[in-house]
Amino acid sequence: MRRPNVGRRGDLTVAVLVLLSATAAGAAGPAPGKVTPELIEAAKKEGKAIWYTAVDLPVAERIAKAFEAKYPGIEMRVERSGGERIFQRIGQEYASNIHAVDVVNSSDAAHFIVWKRDGILAPYVPEDVALHYPPEHKDPDGQFASWRVWLSVIGYNTRLVKPEEAPKSFADLLDPKWSGKIVKGHPGYSGTIMTATFQISRDLGWEYLEKLAKQKVMQVQSSADPPKKLALGERAIMADGNEYNLFQLKEKGEPVEIVYPAEGTPLIVGPSGVLKDAPHPNAARLLQSFLFSVQAQQLMVDSGGLRSMHALVKEKPGRKPLREIKVMKDDPAAVEKQADEIKARYSKYFKV
């Protein structure tokens, strides 16, 4: 996700070597955080962990229940909303000195650039991240790492659209026959859609979105909603939305199908980080370690349909492996710079 420049990469290699040899005191990144009995004890004393996340609610609650089962005595509260909403919420709460959140996961990696710059994240590298995550998926200063990766895809309802007639590309969505049949998410709510809108406007131009807006699109908020609207049969096609929700629905036997557009599929990265002023600092670190453990990552992949950057986690058979998919390049730094303009331009074309 992060693309360090050359000088930075040198530092990073050293840091990774140091981390691997586990003698990290005083090096660029913090020492790997081990789940020690003392940490668990201290977390239990705090008794609670509050997780702001943008992942689809049932997935989030499943992870939370697994955490509570593994560490009885710690109650977990999930605060789920769209990535952009979470960003606004934390900004609003921190401006009033309310520090309610322990661990945060957004669907817009650009948010972590801002939070790191604002100095509200704590350096904490779970052992799994130190040992099993590729360098491009962790912050060199150890403040966050890629908790999950997924795609924003095109999808269709197989009862309403025959496979041979289904769109194969973003360009196909502009066909007049899809007018009034498309549903899509909103970049003002969803970090996924924000990231996807950035990549699509960069690679296909805003003209594409301007034309798409004329297709009488049903405008929903979350990127988790278009797949659900397909399953309801409310719309035949989704122009963007979570691949992972479609995996879940498809594997439950609902009539939905995924299309990886010919132009490339927007790649979304959702990092996770511990807040410096977390109200439950030990529970926060325990949760961050749990989130990156093989157990949580495999759960998120198997039942959630997400993709993991953990080296030991296996992709579920029957799903197209990530390396076989042509993806658009992600660029959180550019998203961070253009976010306000993207929202304004989007509202101009889509009216909401």
Partner: protein
Amino acid sequence: MAPRALPWRARRDLSGAILAVFALALCLLVLLPIGWLVVFAFTGRGGGFTLANFRLLFSDAAFLEPLITTLTLAVSVGLVCCLVAAPLGWLVARTDMPLRRTVRFLIMASFVTPPFLGAIAWELLAAPNSGLLNQLHRASTGAGPDEVLFNVYTLHGLVLVVSCYTFPYVFVLVANALDRIPGELEDASAMLGASAFCTARRVTIPLALPALAAGALIAFLQALTLFGAPGILALPAGFHTMTTKIWSLFQYPPKPELAAAASLPLLVLTVLLLRAQSAILGRRGYTVVGGRSGPPRPVPLGVLRWPALALCLAVLSLPVFLPYLALLNAAFSRIPSQPLTVQTFTLDHLRFVFLELSATRLALKNTFLLGLAAATSGALLALVISYLTARAAIRGHRVLAFLATAPIAIPAIALGVGLFLAYTRGPVVLYGTLWILLLAYVTIELPAAYQQLQAAFRAVSPELEEASRILGASRLRTLRDVTAPLLGPSLIATWCFVFVAVVRELSAAAILFTSETKVLSVLIFDLNESGDLAAIAVLGLTMLILTSAVIAAANRVPGLGGGLRVRHY
């Protein structure tokens, strides 16, 4: 008597002080958020006085279109509500239609339904493709897959849904007014030789007209300031109302100054309308409760009794029967758009909401705690203020009356922002606590509570209080021992009204909540944004069961009772 006179007098002094405290609290409650709104509306991005916000507001199509949409919506809702509520009110209050009490009760059930929940239920019913009614229409007529009977994601759909959950306001006012018209007036008219039609035209309708006009105004204002239903139905259709526009201005990057400016036209419009209303109605006396009038005389409908009932039930199917069926279906069906059958039945959604969803318990607790607290403090505050104004008890009572009515003009979402601005900075920081939500709820519901009690005061003649005062009781003691018991049923009704309104409230809560102070309405709106309709159905039904239980309990308070069916004899 002489030895007792002294302590009485001492208590009277205390009354003055306590009343002053109430007046001051009211000023703080109402003026602080409004003050912040006005300040922000005239503040530029970098600070300093400016009119730029208003210039943008009245020149940019992105603001003008929502303004026109909102006015269209509000006028349509006002008209629809009157057209529906007036005949229904008359049938229930003045005729021998069968099951009158049941119909009244069911209309109250539609009032207990939050508009945002109704809007979601109507998505399930009338989304163009997956809506159950549209599916049924296609299945029964063999129409093609693109054939749509009714599309709820339109301005028409929005008018229908908002009317469904606003017409009870008009209904209650009209039915109560008709209840109160003594039979003697109509008898007198008949004895003087007027026909039934003439009596209706010359006596009944003119006496009910003020209530209808007041109802139309309330419906108009409700539609003007409602956020939830437009947020759910207008955005997917690609249009904004003023409230959703204001709400969108608080998203990142927040533009509170524009939002404040956008809410001022609504404020001004409402103030003008309220003034017009009092100018028209205020001068005439409509006191018809003299104490010993006869009960209203039911008009025999003859063969039309059952068709009349059928009409009522048909109307009630829109806010009550159909939406609840859709919610029940969604709560137990694997996919909400599938009709419930043995194959599609599942308890997964129940399990998810009650065993997995970590916000459920917290939201339920917060909502009901706030409901009880706001209803109690709101009803008491409204009682004292309406006493002060109805009996002109202190100087400046007109100002109090204005302050107590003013919040009706502020869109709750803007009030939420005003409160947010007021209580996120010193000296008192309340953001992040339940207190700020309590303040918001009391402020928002004060006008309705005040008007209900004000009306009740008007119907109670002041002689009894004067007697109590002449005998030496202080104002507060008179209020407690004489007036409050007389107002018992109205007081309980007001309490229930505020409680229900708090459970329904979404707009201010959407701005003021934090993760620890989440309420049910916000949770449901969140779930709608991520498309978790089944979980909403389960939560919504739970909320309705609990709300009904609370109202039923409140109506069993010994010595009071009467509940939402406000009746004054």
